[in-house]
Symmetry: C2
Subunit: 348 residues, 2 copies
């Protein structure tokens, strides 16, 4: 797991020694953090803002495979996934707690790698690590992160605010994280057969990064503020465009039409999809893990949104009775389908 | 797991159906909860109070054994453990988030049992369930709960405030949860050999309840307020009196003397310890999971504390140079020892 040679058993430090070791370099960055790690609970202060709270659980074998996910990347991504949910509320993340259950196969050095990733994400997004729990597990690694952020009441954007005629917009491009995962899984299979063969990853750096080191789009929240646009509804794309847009439509009691030829795809996503004989649209609709923001804005903002290189208008909101549809390049109307995990599929 | 006969596969509901199913009856109890489950994040409001945040992770095979822990009790206890940390800050819990990773061996009915316990604890302690994550796992069950509470800045009690000459006090009695666990493990071994033999639990209802359905001592926080006493330092006893008192002493840079003959033990704890040929003092010092509150108060409150049936003065705070000691009935001075989990011991 760790590429250093030294392997210190967790038992050499014990629980309290381990906590001290992992938290000794933490410096508080936010005024709202009055007390971080080291007591029964952290103490925060938000007299003038509303607080948003979100949490995610990642388990080995389901959300990540340590065969091809470096622990540092895993730590980084685990934080980013939660910050993405805070940004999706149009809020700014300030604190996280990190809990982990780990088996004795992990060394102190491996945990240091994981924490290096966690700390790096905290650094990049200006977030304080204020608490957590480190506990043994009989099997593998489970990570649970809770993120806390702030926003004024007026700024907070719910899934439920979309209105008929709103523009449906996304940031960045979609499907890359899914194609990156396909690439990693392919190379992992090759490695199992022939451990001496070098992985063929060249030319696919972007989709690998989308899978291994995604970023949360805090810059989009800032940009929208700068443009004077408050989205009517917003969600981050974690399950895939299809599911996440359906969440907005269900919560807002509206329908939507989005257009196949408008969905933003990166060149590498298209190229690797072609190599695997997959339609890249499927990766965008159902792949998930892109952590882009999906939002709806009033029609009047069309010109402003259009000018932003990073935003794409992919469709519009309709009456609920019209359903949630994809309009293909050929003009066919195809109902969107929700994904989400399926315990039978993922879990034997 | 569940004692109903119907077993609905999780896959029949899918992720979003399962979330709807588990959260459909939630009613918001606190004004500070503006938005609970159903968006990217919950939204809370604490304009006049400080916020305390704490989190715990429980894993199957380490923190609980489903052979003898009913799922409803597990859900209840998982919540209580976190609320106990909030009370230990002298604060009042208001919200929780609940994340779980579960394998396909669990049915919807089993999850309903678990949630019945979680909801029952929320009901009893007036807490809102405002978010979470439900996700597959390859093996067993992991539960991660975060609790959020409120207090005025003056009321918050840290581990670091103990002063020399303070009285060391505990609520309730100690060691019961540990002896309850020994009893359950003994009966589980008997059951494995002879499944037809009825478990011998009679007369030990109290220690069983201490293990299976502990309560968090919010009543102690209330009582101290009523008595006009603000502890200088406070912690909840989750790892055992010894470790938790050492946390206070380390954080407060003080020492302590506690007295063997003052440590409160219930009759059933003593009785079952005798049956197993264990010193019940060891259960109190190192057993953990009692979730009583351990606190220090200025000497002037001695008479007030003495009058309260539920409080016991077990010793006093000394200079750090004197160390952290147990004074035995015979007058010997024995240094306290920290426990915490040991990954090698618990985890093969």
């Amino acid at each position: 797991m760790s590429d250093t040679n030294k392997k210190t058993q967790l038992s050499e430090l014990g629980e309290f020694g381990l906590i001290d070791h992992l938290t000794k370099n933490i410096e508080i960055k936010n005024n709202s953090t009055l007390k971080g790690v080291g007591d029964d609970a952290a103490v925060l202060s938000y007299p003038d803002k509303k607080i948003v709270v979100t949490t995610d659980l990642l388990t080995e074998g389901i959300h990540f495979n340590l065969m091809y996910t470096p622990l540092k990347h895993l730590g980084y991504k685990a934080v980013v996934v939660n910050l993405s949910d805070v940004f999706a509320m149009n809020a700014i993340p300030r604190q996280i707690t990190v809990s982990m259950a780990l088996s004795s196969k992990f060394s102190v050095e491996a945990l240091d790698e994981l924490y290096a990733g966690i700390n790096s994400a905290c650094e990049k997004y200006g977030v304080d690590l204020v608490g957590g729990d480190t506990t043994p597990s009989l099997t593998g690694l489970t990570l649970s992160i809770t993120a806390i952020g702030e926003a004024t009441e007026e700024d907070i954007t719910y899934r439920s605010g979309a209105n008929v005629h709103d523009l449906v917009c996304v940031s960045g491009d979609l499907g890359g994280a899914y194609m990156g995962l396909q690439l990693l899984e392919r190379e992992n299979e090759v490695f199992k057969v022939n451990p001496n063969e070098q992985p063929q990853l060249e030319g696919y750096e972007y989709i690998l990064q989308r899978q291994l080191k995604p970023e949360a789009r805090g810059d989009v929240v800032e940009l929208l503020k700068k443009l004077g646009i408050k989205p009517n509804a917003m969600i981050d794309i974690s399950d895939g465009l299809s599911s996440d847009l359906m969440h907005i439509c269900k919560n807002s009691k509206v329908g939507c039409n989005i257009y196949e030829d408008k969905i933003p795809l990166d060149m590498q996503t298209k190229q690797f999809a072609q190599e695997l004989n997959i339609n890249p649209l499927v990766a965008a609709l159902n792949g998930g893990e892109d952590y882009e923001l999906l939002f709806t804005v009033p029609l009047k903002h069309y010109d402003t949104i259009k000018k932003e290189f990073d935003f794409t208008v992919i469709g519009h909101i309709t009456e609920a009775s019209e359903g949630t549809n994809l309009i293909t390049t050929g003009g066919s109307v195809i109902p969107l389908q929700a994904q989400g995990w399926n315990p039978l599929k993922n879990n034997s």
